[in-house]
Each structure stands twice: as structure tokens, then as C-alpha cells.
């Protein structure tokens, strides 16, 4: 994990150097003279050799310094801190409902395999992975906010503001979870120990929830970790649709205005989060399945 993280830092650092154009000129603005640009170049350390620049970047990073936004001239960390919670809550609420619903649909599909709950659930699931989030968000907003007037359209003040964006963001994840839970469950429910559990007269609910679910959960947890990455990416689109004051919209604005320090900081943050979540998933494995232990 640490080497991967170091490589990610290296790539994010190189990001500015593979960009077309001179970063110093970008910072200075279009009508700056040569002297100003040279000054800025020295100030940013862009005149130093590349390895030295990288060391400097890592040093700054370890002090929590991500540079300043070209647009607002404020520290990138401050820009991120202001919007971090809005995105975090959105992501977590989406994850919570989609895992809950996805697994419920997946389990009922597997238990009533090839019957109507299965067909309904899997039709919903395949539609869920096929509908793009931005289109779903626009439709939901049109129906529930504009025509029915039940829910607010944009902003993130009350819990009501969270309903539509988190539905939109979680829909695809719920669909993936449902399909995946079903597949894993169907495999486990055919195992000998499930037959044994039934043979010794356990109730069906005990068989499903105690003997099958726990064993079926292992691949599902992996999938959950992967889906977190999807949510982080999806939040970029959903936040644009709902004008959400979060990190995703900050990234879109930063890309459109070529605000490189902000892009750099956000890419670093997103990938670190993703790597940490995958680590957490590995730890969770051990908790769910004691037979998996790491050396």
C-alpha cells in the first residue's frame, strides 16, 4: 500500500510537469512580463532540478501544504476543508442505502431464484447499472422537485436536500451490489454445509442469515470497497447536477478553469481515500472470515 501511495504522489507531482504550457506563466496570468514570471518560477521552485522539486513537494506535503488555488489565491487545503464534509456525507448516505437495498434485493433474488422476486430484482438491477447518473438526477429533480414540489432542487442545507442526490449517486451501486450479492449467494446456498444446516432442521431464516449470508459476504465486501471508488467518481457528476457544494464540483470547476494546484490536491485526496478504503476492506476480511489471516 505504501509503495502504491508513493507512486500516486509521484504521478500527481509529475502532473504539473506534463501539462502543456508553463505553470509559472499560468500562475502569473496572461499579461505578466518576463521578470514577474522568472520571479514566480523561483518562488515556486520551478527552476530547481526535478528530483529536488519532488523532494520539496513531498516536504510541503508532509506539512499539509498543497499550495494555493490559482483562482481564489487561498490555500488548497482550506478550499478542500470547506467542502469535504458535504461530499463525505453524500457518499456515506449513498453507500448506506445502496448497500442495504442492494443486498436485500440480491438475497431475495437468490432465495427465490427464477421466481418473480428474482426477475423483478434483476430487471431493476440491470436497469440501474445502465442508467447514467446525470440523467437519473435530472429526471428525479424534474419529477420530485419541479413537478411535485416535494423536495428541494439544489443546495445542501437540510436532510431533505440529501434525498435526491444520494438516491442518484447510490442507484448504480445498489444495482451492482444486488447482482453481486445474488451471484455470491447462489453459489454458497448450494454448498454442502447449507444442506446440512437444512437437514438438521434449522429454520429457513437461520439458514439464510447465519449459515449462508456470512460466507456469501466475503466477495460482497470486496465489491463494496471497489464501489467506494465509483462513488467518489460518481459524486463528481451528481454534484454538478444538483449544484452540490462539495469536492466533485470543486474538481469540475478547477478543471474547467485550469486551476492546477486544486486539481492536484483533489486527485491526491481522492486516491488516498480510495487506497485507505481498500486497506479497510482487507482488514474487514479477517473479521468476517477468521480463516483468512494475513502473514
Amino acid at each position: 500500500m505504501i509503495p502504491t501511495l508513493m507512486l500516486v504522489v509521484l504521478i500527481v507531482f509529475l502532473f504539473v510537469h506534463i501539462l502543456p504550457g508553463d505553470p509559472a506563466r499560468l500562475v502569473a496570468g496572461t499579461d505578466a512580463d518576463e521578470a514577474t514570471i522568472t520571479l514566480i518560477r523561483e518562488d515556486l521552485g520551478l527552476d530547481l532540478p526535478l528530483p529536488k522539486q519532488f523532494l520539496r513537494y513531498v516536504q510541503e506535503l508532509s506539512h499539509g501544504n498543497l499550495g494555493r488555488s490559482l483562482r481564489t489565491k487561498r490555500p488548497v487545503t482550506q478550499e478542500i476543508a470547506e467542502r469535504f464534509l458535504a461530499t463525505l456525507w453524500l457518499t456515506l448516505s449513498s453507500m448506506a442505502w445502496s448497500v442495504l437495498f442492494g443486498m436485500a434485493i440480491g438475497i431475495s433474488s437468490a432465495v427465490w431464484r427464477n421466481r418473480w422476486p428474482d426477475r423483478l430484482g434483476m430487471t431493476l438491477a440491470v436497469s440501474g447499472i445502465s442508467f447514467p447518473a446525470f440523467a437519473l438526477g435530472m429526471m428525479l429533480m424534474q419529477v420530485f422537485s419541479v413537478q411535485l414540489g416535494w423536495l428541494p432542487t439544489v443546495g445542501a442545507e437540510t436532510w431533505k436536500h440529501y434525498i435526491l442526490p444520494s438516491l442518484t449517486l447510490g442507484a448504480a451501486v445498489a444495482a451492482v451490489m444486488a447482482r453481486f450479492t445474488r451471484a455470491s449467494f447462489v453459489e454458497v446456498i448450494q454448498e454442502d454445509y447449507v444442506r446440512t444446516a437444512r437437514a438438521k432442521g434449522l429454520s429457513e431464516s437461520l439458514v439464510v442469515f447465519k449459515h449462508t449470508l456470512r460466507n456469501a459476504l466475503i466477495p460482497v465486501v470486496t465489491m463494496m470497497g471497489l464501489q467506494f471508488g465509483f462513488l467518489l467518481g460518481g459524486s463528481i457528476v451528481v454534484e454538478t447536477v444538483f449544484n452540490w457544494p462539495g469536492l466533485g464540483r470543486l474538481l469540475v470547476d478547477a478543471v474547467n478553469q485550469r486551476d492546477y494546484p486544486v486539481i492536484q490536491g483533489l486527485v491526491l485526496l481522492f486516491s488516498t481515500e480510495f487506497i485507505l478504503i481498500n486497506l479497510l476492506v482487507d482488514v474487514l476480511y479477517g473479521a468476517i472470515n477468521p480463516s483468512i489471516r494475513y502473514k
Binding site: V126, I129, S130, F131, P132, L232, V237, V252, N256
Partner: protein, 308 residues
């Protein structure tokens, strides 16, 4: 895996033997088995036909469109709902939505197919080399995959577009880049398993080169998971490409790209929802067809799944 082994040219059978089998009983080759299993899935067959129809329509779109998708403006019919003259209605600039959606199919299909093809070819080669040679080659490939997978897909795509500028070609490259590690891992895993098979040992013992073994004997064995994964990936890629255009990082207006059309439709969503509904439906149905096709192919190609 065993069926795959039989399908390779390694199993050189006597010609007359094959002929006698054909005449005495229906020959059940791995291919005919796959076709038989696939045909049983009506939904997947329908999805496959829809995809074919879509590809034909996309290729013929310039001759099929009733109006010019970019340069025809009907100022008397702004935001008009669907009618006989304009099947899908008219958008806020007076353009015919049906023509634009049809032309958009070219862009979205090209984006989905090209990006997955690029990703699959590079990923497969990386996976084959990594699985076959192992050692430093494997470590390097898997490290690159790890790093690429450390970025959420959408973020990686946005990063590539931020570096290279926003255009549809760059979107294709961006989406291809994040398909590569998934294919590389998939193929590497299969290569590691196939490499141990007796038939590979046999081919090596008669003096086949590494290159021949990899491309003619290991690749065919891993082609079915690549096809299944690739088909599903096309759907995801179409959504990602449309999302990027929706965010203003891909195709630019007035290009009739579905995601870009939806973004343009946002302003008039309240008075003219049909402007958004048709491109949204187009994305949904296209991606749905690829996903259903992928599901069907998976069930048909996986020898482990035997349905009653």
C-alpha cells in the same frame, strides 16, 4: 478450461474421424455448445440484435437523418414536443432531436467500442506477458495496474482530459486508460492458470516458441472472459464518455453527443423535458443492450454454468 483446451489447434484430429462423427451424430463442438446456450436466452439474443441494428443505424446515420443534426434550425418550432415532422421533437435552438440522437449514436458507439478495444488489446498483452514470464515483468505490470486502479475511474479520466485538453478523442484515450488494468489483471490470472496445463507443456516440449505458446495456445483459452468483460465494459465506457461530455470535458456543443445534449437540455428542463428524455433514453437503451448481451455471453461461455 478443458473445453477451451480442445478448441485449440493443438488437438489435431484425423479428418476422417471427424467426418464419421458428423454423420453418425450431431457434432457437439465447444462453439456449437456456446451458440446453443446463447440462443436459449431470448433477452440476450434480442439485446444482440438491438446492438447490431444500432451499429448499422450509426454507420448509415448521415444518410438516414431527416434533418441536418447541426445546421438545421426551425425557429418556428422551438422546444416543440414530438410530432410527425419531428419524431422526437425540437430542441431550444430549433434542431431536430431525432436527427441529433441518431448522429449521436455514432459518437457514443465509437467511444465505447474504441476505448474498450484499445484497453482490451493493451491490457491483454500486458496480462499475457506478466502471467507468462512472471518475474520483474509481472511485478512491473501489476504495480502499474495497482497505481491505475488507485484512482477512481472517473477521476483518472478527468485527469487525462485535464492534461490533454477536452475533446472526444482524448475522452476515448482517458476511458481506455482506465480499462487497461482491469483487462491486465483478468488475463494475467487466466494465463497463470493455463500455463500449468498439460497441453501447454506438450506444446513447449515439441519446441514451440514463447510467442507461439502465448498467442496461439494461451490466448484462445482466455478469450471468453475477455469477450464477456469487454462487452460489459462497453456499457460502462459509453456512460463514462457521456458523463465527461455532460461535464463539458468531452464533445462540445453543437456536436450531437448524447451527454452534451443532456447538458444543453438542462436549462429548459422545466418547459421542455422531452429535449432531455430522448438522449437519456438513447444512452439507457444502448448501455442496457450491451449489459444484457454481456450477461448472456457470460452464461453461454462459462462452462461452469449449466442451466436446466
Amino acid at each position: 478450461m478443458c473445453c477451451m483446451a480442445q478448441s485449440t489447434p493443438a488437438s489435431a484430429t484425423n479428418k476422417s474421424e471427424v467426418l464419421t462423427i458428423t454423420t453418425s451424430q450431431a457434432l457437439r463442438t465447444p462453439v456449437s455448445e456456446v451458440v446453443r446456450k446463447f440462443k436459449k436466452q431470448k433477452l440476450a439474443v434480442a439485446a444482440g440484435l438491438f446492438v447490431l441494428l444500432l451499429i448499422v443505424a450509426a454507420c448509415a446515420a448521415p444518410w438516414l437523418v431527416p434533418f441536418d443534426p447541426e445546421d438545421y434550425f426551425d425557429y418556428d418550432a422551438l422546444n416543440d414536443p414530438p410530432s410527425l415532422a419531428h419524431w422526437f421533437g425540437v430542441d431550444s435552438l430549433g434542431r431536430d432531436i431525432f436527427s441529433r440522437v441518431l448522429m449521436g449514436a455514432r459518437i457514443s458507439l465509437a467511444a465505447g467500442l474504441c476505448s474498450v478495444a484499445i484497453g482490451a488489446v493493451i491490457g491483454t498483452l500486458m496480462g499475457l506477458l506478466a502471467g507468462y514470464y512472471q518475474g520483474w515483468c509481472e511485478r512491473l505490470t501489476m504495480r502499474i495496474s495497482d497505481v491505475l486502479l488507485a484512482f477512481p475511474g472517473m477521476l483518472l479520466a478527468i485527469g487525462v482530459v485535464a492534461v490533454m485538453g477536452s475533446s472526444m478523442a482524448n475522452v476515448i484515450i482517458a476511458v481506455a486508460v482506465f480499462s487497461v488494468p482491469a483487462f491486465a489483471r483478468l488475463v494475467r490470472g487466466n494465463t497463470l492458470a493455463l500455463k500449468q496445463m498439460t497441453y501447454v507443456e506438450a506444446v513447449r516440449s515439441v519446441g514451440a516458441s514463447d510467442f507461439t505458446i502465448m498467442l496461439r495456445h494461451i490466448l484462445p483459452g482466455t478469450i471468453s472472459p475477455i469477450v464477456v468483460y469487454g462487452t460489459m465494459r462497453i456499457g460502462t465506457s459509453i456512460i463514462t464518455a457521456a458523463s465527461l461530455s455532460f461535464l463539458g470535458m468531452g464533445a462540445r456543443p453543437p456536436t450531437p453527443e448524447w451527454g452534451a445534449m443532456l447538458n444543453e437540455a438542462r436549462a429548459d428542463m422545466v418547459i421542455a423535458p422531452h429535449v432531455a428524455i430522448f438522449p437519456a433514453l438513447a444512452i439507457f437503451l444502448t448501455v442496457l443492450a450491451f449489459n444484457l448481451l454481456g450477461d448472456g455471453l457470460r452464461d453461454a461461455l462459462d462452462p461452469k454454468i449449466e442451466q436446466k
